[in-house]
């Protein structure tokens, strides 16, 4: 059974790249444009991994992770931050909110897949 990944980014082009790469690797992909939509989709269908951008309107990445961690069915789900920031502070903030790890933009497709293998069976 293939895993479902929720991708959240307000940039259409990024969503497109993510979708293409992940589906090509055999994952199912659900996408959202911001944290709010992501929450709705995550409630509607159980996903196995969340990849989210940090800077988004309505509900940003860290807020999304915090919200999801509050839901019993997502307490132990791996969640990765997509970030252009290399700043330690953002990573710390993310971790404090419950993020599992991060992927730095720009990323190459195999880098993305390698990181996913670290956190998702």
């Amino acid at each position: 059974m293939s895993r479902t990944i929720l991708t959240v980014d307000d940039s259409a082009s990024i969503r497109q790249v993510l979708g293409f790469t992940l589906r090509g690797a055999g994952y199912e992909v659900v996408s959202a444009v911001d944290g709010r939509e992501a929450l709705a989709k995550a409630d509607a269908q159980q996903v196995d991994l969340v990849i989210t951008d940090l800077n988004m309107p309505n509900l940003d990445g860290i807020g999304l992770i915090r919200e999801l961690r509050g839901r019993p069915q997502y307490r132990f789900t791996p969640m990765l931050m997509l970030t252009t920031e290399s700043q330690a502070s953002k990573k710390q903030e993310g971790k404090a909110a419950g993020a599992t790890g991060w992927i730095i933009k720009p990323f190459k497709p195999d880098q993305l897949l390698a990181v996913i293998k670290k956190v998702l069976r």
């Binding site: 307000d10 940039s11 259409a12 082009s13 990024i14 497109q16 790249v17 293409f20 951008d53 800077n55 988004m56 309107p57 961690r69 307490r75 132990f76 789900t77 791996p78 969640m79 252009t84 920031e85 290399s86 700043q87 330690a88 990573k91 971790k95 419950g98 993020a99 599992t100 790890g101 991060w102 730095i104 933009k105 720009p106 990323f107 880098q111 390698a114 990181v115 293998k117 670290k118 956190v119 998702l120 069976r121």
Partner: protein, 729 residues
């Protein structure tokens, strides 16, 4: 696909830039509206990210700088004012220009300078931490073994981390051993199922380097205990194959303290103490045994270190390469020598002679470097003998002689398996069970003896036992049964014993787990023949049997005697040659067909190589007989001409010629021609067999083998000269 991405990006960028402009305009009217600032910031952030994704690096870089400035606005450090908005708009235009390719990238710097000025300082943006990308790290290249302890924080599940995935990832870096440590697991009623109590000890061998290891844990490194230590490197040669002891390893890992270890050890009872406690030995016996142990240990250590200081370990491959090179050198030197001889240039001749001498010495030294004492092989067999005796219910002791006899390294290696088989045979079939031995008046304990000695250019290795010996009748019966002998044949003892080497032959009534499957002796013989050696059996019923293996000292280069027969040149191993004498045609005729020649009072039979090789051409008036020692007897080989001594590099003839008897290889002469190397013992044996068969055929009555061959063969000595019943060899 890229073009579609580009299109999407361009479109998205256009939208974003449009939105950015709007927001900036509104910001001018409502400078305090933080939501607008956030929008501006997000737009730039997205453009920066997507730009980088799609290769617009200059866009990304520039936008990053603008974004950094605006971050200060976002933090509330800097108010929005008209100047800022103006410059921001200009920056936006520049970004669009960069994307569309209409702007000059150089214009970016002044814009940024103005922007920074507008917010009150021109400090460059703080650089982000550079290296947190889980990127590929350079491999260090050197293989090393690491001791890794990964102890995750108890709450790591809450961040969606699966520690087992990390351990799996680690295991992919190379061969590893993983032990999960569960000592911290509380009892079920105290257990929190959402906490992690387990930690992992991993011993990993990899050439990827420590960074690759740490990268595995990059997401959790702040919240876990990770220790990575190198415990062994490929580059370090430790003569002590014994690694640290268990207690020391545990202390190093911090699992126990040094004190704990010492307490435990001193609480341990030694074997000596236990035995004394049980009244089985006296304390004095124990002290004496300990003294012996200490003495021998010291002696061995002294020997080992004495040996160590004067010897160097060299890889076998290096030695082999040296031998190859020496072989080539010998051939090249032979060609030089030949040419020097032809040119008759005295200076060249002198040098050629010098070179000849030096290559001989080099050859000897190199081959000598490959020599090892056979003693190491012998001592390994002690354990084998002990185990086999136990398994087969015999009492056997192994005696060795000549352990420091040296053989070529390859020969020793290839000799190992045949020797193992022969020892097994000796114990299984030769030595009788203790009761049987006692009944026969022998000591209960049987002896298997391994002996090695040099003999000329050969090494003789003997395996003998004092068991029941070979049962000639049983062998004959088996031979008939297997169709190797006709029922009324009367083979000689030698022929009977030779049957044992035939494939599929085994007289063991019970096939034990150890031997008796009948696949052994033929393989043994073949292995030894591959080494250009011979193997023979001899036995005395009731007293024991002996297997004698004769091996040449070296496989690669020998000193040879170059001869000519019928226009072709051949090489004979000089080590077997005793002398050369002349044979005139008249003398040969005088002998009236008998191929015998008197040499200082002894009649030596000879073999005509001309006939053997069916050489054409006129027989020379004066021929030479090369008298060689073959299996304790002397035998002559008639050649046209003896050319001289020749350093012979033995080259294998190849599979096609494996079945040809009488040749043990070939060599390349100085002028490039090929000379075959003669296997004199084989030639002699074949000649004898051939003549015996002919004699059998000539006898009245049925006989095995060929019939009707009544021509004198190359080695017929004529009736009456020799007793046909006993073979001369």
């Amino acid at each position: 696909m890229t073009s579609t991405y580009d299109d999407v990006f361009l479109q998205e960028a256009e939208e974003l830039l449009g939105g950015l402009e709007e927001a900036l305009m509104e910001l001018e009217d409502r400078p305090g509206d933080l939501e607008l600032v956030a929008r501006v910031f997000r737009a730039m952030h997205t453009i920066k990210g997507s730009g980088a994704m799609f290769g617009f690096d200059d866009v990304s870089a520039f936008t990053h700088e603008v974004e950094t400035v605006f971050d200060r606005v976002r933090q509330g450090e800097v108010p929005v004012n008209r100047a800022l908005v103006d410059i921001s708009l200009a920056a936006k235009d520049h970004i669009r220009g960069l994307i569309q390719g209409t702007a000059n990238p150089e214009d970016g710097a002044p814009l940024l300078a103005r922007l920074r000025e507008a917010v009150g300082n021109d400090a460059p943006a703080p650089a982000g931490d550079a290296d947190d990308v889980p990127a590929e790290t350079a491999t260090s290249g050197e293989r090393a073994t690491y001791r890794i302890r990964f102890r995750p924080a108890p709450d790591l599940f809450a961040r969606g981390t699966d520690p087992v995935l990390l351990v799996d990832e680690l295991a992919q870096l190379g061969p590893s051993r993983v032990v999960a440590q569960t000592r911290d697991l509380p009892s079920l009623d105290a257990l929190d199922p959402e906490a992690c109590y387990v930690y992992w000890d991993v011993v990993l061998t990899t050439d990827r380097g420590e960074n690759a290891i740490r990268d595995v844990f990059i997401f959790v490194e702040d919240e876990c205990d990770l220790t990575v230590q190198v415990i062994d490197r490929d580059g370090v040669f430790d003569n002590d194959a014994e690694y640290k002891r268990l207690g020391d390893i545990l202390v190093e890992r911090g699992d126990i303290t040094e004190d704990d270890l010492q307490t435990a050890i001193s609480a341990q009872k030694r074997v000596g103490e236990l035995l004394v406690d049980q009244g089985l030995v006296t304390p004095e016996q124990v002290s004496s045994a300990l003294a012996e142990q200490a003495t021998v240990r010291e002696n061995r250590k002294a020997r080992a270190s004495a040996g160590e200081s004067t010897s160097v370990r060299v890889s076998a491959e290096k030695l082999d390469k040296m031998v190859d090179l020496v072989g080539e050198l010998v051939i090249a030197q032979a060609r030089l020598g030949e040419m020097a001889g032809r040119r008759q240039d005295p200076e060249l001749l002198t040098i050629a002679e010098e070179l000849d001498r030096l290559t001989s010495e080099l050859r000897d030294s190199t081959l000598d470097a490959r020599m090892l004492p056979i003693g190491t092989t012998f001592s390994r067999f002690r354990r084998l003998v002990r185990d086999l005796s136990g398994e087969l219910g015999r009492e056997v002791v192994l005696e060795t002689e000549g352990a420091d006899t040296e053989l070529d390294k390859t020969v020793i290696e290839r000799l190992n398996d045949p020797l193992v088989h022969l020892i097994r045979n000796a114990i299984d079939h030769g030595i009788e069970p203790p009761d049987e031995r006692e009944a026969a008046g022998k000591p209960r304990q049987g002896i298997v003896r391994l002996a090695a000695v040099h003999s000329g250019a050969h090494v003789i290795v003997q395996i003998s036992d004092d068991g029941r010996g070979l049962d000639a009748a049983a062998i004959k019966a088996k031979g008939v049964e297997r169709g190797l002998l006709s029922p009324d044949a009367e083979p000689s003892e030698k022929e009977l014993f030779n049957l044992i080497f035939a494939a599929g032959f085994s007289t063991a009534k019970n096939v034990s787990s150890v031997s008796g499957r009948g696949v052994g002796m033929d393989v043994v013989r073949r292995s030894i023949e591959t080494l250009r050696g011979t193997v023979d059996l001899s036995s005395e019923p009731g007293r024991g049997s002996t297997v004698t293996i004769k091996l040449p000292l070296t496989l690669a280069i020998i000193e040879g005697l170059l001869v000519e027969v019928g226009g072709d040149r051949y090489v004979m191993p000089l080590s077997l040659v005793e002398e050369c004498i002349e044979l005139s045609r008249r003398e040969a005729e005088l002998a009236r067909g008998r191929r015998l020649t008197p040499v200082r009072g002894e009649l030596v039979p000879y073999l005509r190589l001309r006939e053997w090789f069916h050489a054409t051409g006129e027989r020379p008036e004066l021929e030479q007989i090369v008298i060689a020692r073959v299996d304790d007897d002397r035998m002559g080989f008639v050649v046209d001409r003896v050319i001289g001594q020749h350093q012979t590099v033995i080259k294998s003839l190849g599979k096609v010629y494996q079945g040809v008897e009488g040749l043990s290889g070939a060599t390349i002469l100085g002028d490039g021609a090929v000379a075959l190397i003669l296997d004199l013992p084989r030639l002699a044996q074949n000649a004898v067999d051939g003549s015996e068969r002919r004699r059998e055929a000539a006898r009245p009555g049925p006989a095995p083998g060929e019939v009707g061959a009544d021509q004198p063969g190359p080695f017929d000595v004529g009736a009456g000269q020799r007793d046909a019943g006993t073979a001369p060899f």
